[in-house]
Symmetry: C2
Subunit: 189 residues, 2 copies
DNA sequence: TGCATATGAGACAAGAATGTCTCACACGAC
DNA sequence: GTCGTGTGAGACATTCTTGTCTCATATGCA
């Protein structure tokens, strides 16, 4: 019967479709989500009890991908600067989903956010702190702010690409270039 | 009878209250908006035909404050770097409202966004372009991206301050410091 | 072929938010 | 005092979304 396998595959496909749709239209209906996934609303409800459950599943997916990206980026290897570059590269695939979840968290106050985000925040902030302690990064910008700025730049870049204001191929360089180097021109690159 | 005067005062007060509330809870109800403004839902409906009208009025207010900030910042005076610093300072008061409108624009696709934003985008992008042409800013980051990044950093900083992750007093330095200088430590500040 | 399971389509009620309406009341002007 | 105007409170219908339900159908396995 291959219960778990079939279920898992469908579930993942639905989640991907939902993420792609909600990234563009955060207020999409359950009916629209179902149509986007190519299934009926009834089936969508059978897999996710309700809209909340769907969003929470997306959140879990986002956290999972984030932590996978954090692992793959090997934040403790090499210089902090190199680690940041790797991290942005690893997170690029999930940028749309993360942008959606980022605003979703701002949108609905309270309810206490998922502990997973706190774990991720800690790891990213630790990377920036490591860069400060090694002398790579300036110390007048707190790790918390650099972490927040990374999220914000990723979301902005994701939207800008979606709306065609910037080119998708520049995604990585735009974020890393600005986050690390800033807009000012320097003598020695 | 002082028609216009009284109406204008109330209208402005309602808009300010709505902006303050919607900044924290973007999905607030018309009833909540009315309560926040200290008026009844009926009166709110008399001033703004509906939720759309309210949001569009807030958008007009945001555009107005943005353009006022652009004027006050005298973008053509002095170095581009100084102009950016002045601009961020002038926009700080409106940061919450602008963060709300920024996400609102991402949230509801299509419907064609207000032309005012295009005018503002042009002016901000022109500032970054001026900085590039004068040799102050690096040229591998497009003015369009720098503009988008400014919005994203302002929104991120606004949320981070609201949620207490960073201090409000650091707002200006966080944005300007990162946008212009980036995270990397430099030999000559 | 026969059976089980998952799905799609649609009906249905419940809830929330909106927009419109009426009515009573307070306030200021005359 | 009286009138006109704006306001608050609340009722009401409407709309949209959601969540649950039933039933017919297709797909896969024995």
């Amino acid at each position: 019967m291959q219960y778990s396998c079939l279920m898992a595959v469908d579930r993942d496909h639905v989640l991907r479709s939902a993420a792609a749709l909600l990234t563009r239209k955060a207020t999409a209906t359950m009916d629209e989500v179902a149509k986007a996934a190519g299934i009926s609303r009834a089936t969508l409800h059978r897999q996710f009890a309700g809209r909340d459950a769907l969003v929470r599943a997306l959140e879990a997916l986002g956290i999972e991908e984030c932590e996978a990206a954090l692992d793959a980026a090997r934040l403790d290897d090499g210089t902090a600067q190199e680690a940041v570059r790797r991290l942005v590269g690893e997170l690029e695939r999930s940028a749309g989903l993360l942008a959606f979840l980022y605003t979703e968290n701002q949108l609905f106050e309270g309810d206490g956010q998922h502990e997973g985000w706190a774990r991720i925040d800690v790891r990213v902030a630790a990377l920036f702190r490591r860069g400060q302690e090694s002398g790579e990064f300036r110390i007048d910008l707190s790790p918390a702010w650099l972490t927040e700025a990374l999220y914000g730049l990723m979301a902005s870049a994701s939207w800008a690409v979606t709306e065609g204001r910037v080119a998708a191929k520049d995604y990585h360089h735009m974020i890393v270039g600005l986050l690390l180097g800033g807009a000012l021109r320097r003598e020695e690159p």
